[in-house]
Subunit: 367 residues, 2 copies
């Protein structure tokens, strides 16, 4: 989902801030405040907040933007401070998940730059040497701890947000739901990779929905409706369904783009998913075809050459896996449009536009 | 701190429950409720809640008991449901920390039994074989995720507790403080082991206070005062100080007992700390003596024989490290008694008794 980058983060400025700027400022304030108190403890602890704050400052704020767009669509009121705080908290939740995800995946980089674990693993003076096991252990442990701190911070923001108690309870319920589903999704993703969970297409699709769609789309959309006071059961259900369809469509498109797309556009190594043996929807579709015995021996081979990668890509295309997944994306988009069109969904017209606009982005996506 | 086991967990019973029984029931209800909703997702997710609930059921509930004892000392009111819930949440916080701690330490057992990671790492059918790297990765990742879920649950309980908003904010502040200090302590502990943090006695003592004393002693004591409405700034500060002194004394005594105590009483391998190269206060004291060059070559040697362990123990005793740490314990106890005796502390007499009783337990401790 990192690939949704039509917007850019707004840098701090003396001019009045737009909504995204207000969210960025709210996030910066968390890191500034926590970073200052961290200094009283130990330089290593202060460094954790500092690095994490720097990493997060370059974020694209997709989730907060979606939340604020939906709030504006559902409410004529000015944006309340509570909405800015919840939007910032959702971005911190994303950062917390990424920190733990990088540890699970053993990744030292994210989108071409060293991540927090990578920065801590490499002693600055010896940045080109392979980190020692002790150094890697330290860096990964710090990644887990920083994820814990952000997860705690997210809850503190939700718990203190200045809204009516019933509204706060609704937001806390939604947060619990999003965290539960994201954790199940992450667990399934790891299980699929480690071979403890069987890789069938239904499980892979469910994993994608749980791991990414819930917190990236459903959470911001439903939080906006709650804060706008527009969360009738029908609207809430429609936004949940729309979020799931959109999220799954985007995630499936990620799988298609990272396998078949232009590496210059998506910024990843062209064959990294194939080398890592990532259980994408494309792969689970290929497993069902007669081409699989030809694909399997090279799939997940760390030493996969580019020529071999090209050959696998051709096989995945020819066996129909690409077309199958593109069909699944169309399915999700059709389901989305049905949800939006259904008058019984209780979705106000105002809310349909940003969702349709988001769906429209899918077509032009190259990364 | 696991060694404080004068109390036993009260098993579920048809008779009216005492306070500890109410806390146990509250914890069981969390696992029952969450376990049921987990089944809707995936068996692997439901298994996580099930195993974790079984592991936690045997806990000694030291922290909840301390909280409830202090509440009773500070308030004539009946124990409110809010106090039971917060006591249960503090136990869940402990469980969350243990889950991540076992991952950092690479431990598959805790106090002689397989922990959650150990249970998941060993395929039941092949329980005596060494787990594969994939299986270990799966188990450790699940340990991290379960810790995340419990950390989220703790915050949900604090955020929803049915007390006045100002009291809830005080409890949330205290929770944030306890989590911050525990994370710093854990980070320092890992850094001391991995060699990224320099091992001097001051840092080792600070690590012990932060990692264990804050959430084990300070958090329950101060939470009790908040819930009892007895948290004047002076009382709050006195309980914080008392918690820090008690916690550090217990932790230092743990170090002494696990190095010099009777393994039959403390239940650990007699030389495990020496084999693992654990940076205890005893070791940091020995580092300052002329005996260190003789100790160092064997310290942290996985293959340390019992005879060699006995020799190291003798050296640690002769060089004065044992006496030094016992002196530090006396120091903390003196500081505790001064805190309790100081009339300016604002500590009511009623609160002195449980703290003095807890201090008294230190003397007879063998494990």
């Amino acid at each position: 989902m990192d690939e949704l980058r039509e917007h850019r983060a707004v840098p701090g400025t003396a001019a009045p801030l737009d909504n995204a700027g207000l969210v960025s400022r709210s996030i910066s304030e968390v890191f500034a405040t926590r970073g200052r108190s961290a200094e009283a403890y130990h330089p290593a602890f202060a460094q954790l907040w500092k690095i994490c704050g720097e990493r997060i400052a370059g974020g694209k704020r997709i989730r907060p933007r979606l939340m604020l767009d939906m709030f504006a669509a559902l409410s004529d009121d000015d944006l309340p401070p509570a909405a800015i705080e919840i939007a910032a908290a959702i971005e911190l939740l994303h950062a917390s998940f990424l920190l733990h995800d990088d540890v699970f995946d053993g990744d030292l980089t994210r989108r071409g730059s060293l991540n927090l674990v990578g920065l801590l693993a490499h002693d600055e003076r010896l940045s080109h040497e392979r980190p020692s096991p002790q150094r890697l252990h330290w860096a990964r442990s710090c990644g887990i701890l920083m994820g814990d701190l952000l997860l705690a911070e997210v809850h503190q923001i939700f718990a203190r947000v200045d809204v009516e108690p019933a509204m706060r309870t609704r937001l806390l319920d939604l947060l619990a739901h999003a965290i539960t589903e994201s954790v199940v999704g992450e667990q399934l993703d790891i299980g699929l990779e480690d071979g403890t969970v069987v890789a069938d297409t239904a499980t892979v699709l469910e994993m994608c929905r749980l791991k990414t769609a819930t917190y990236t789309f459903e959470l911001p959309l439903r939080a906006a409706a709650i804060l706008a006071g527009a969360d009738s059961p029908a609207t809430d259900a429609a936004l949940a369904a729309a979020g799931a369809h959109l999220g799954l469509a985007f995630q499936l498109q990620d799988d298609v783009l990272s396998t078949f797309g232009d590496p210059a556009a998506h910024g990843k190594d062209a064959f990294s998913d194939l080398r890592e043996g990532k259980e994408t929807a494309v792969i689970s579709a290929a497993r069902m075809t007669s081409a699989w015995p030809e694909i399997e021996p090279s799939f997940g081979t760390g030493s996969l050459t580019n020529a071999e990668g090209e050959r696998l890509r051709g096989l995945l295309r020819e066996c129909g896996a690409e077309a199958f997944v593109r069909g699944l994306i169309d399915d999700q988009m059709r389901a989305l449009h049905e949800t939006l069109a259904d008058p019984a969904s209780g979705l106000p017209d105002s809310a349909r536009q940003p969702l349709a606009a988001l769906a429209g982005r899918l077509d032009g996506r190259r990364s």
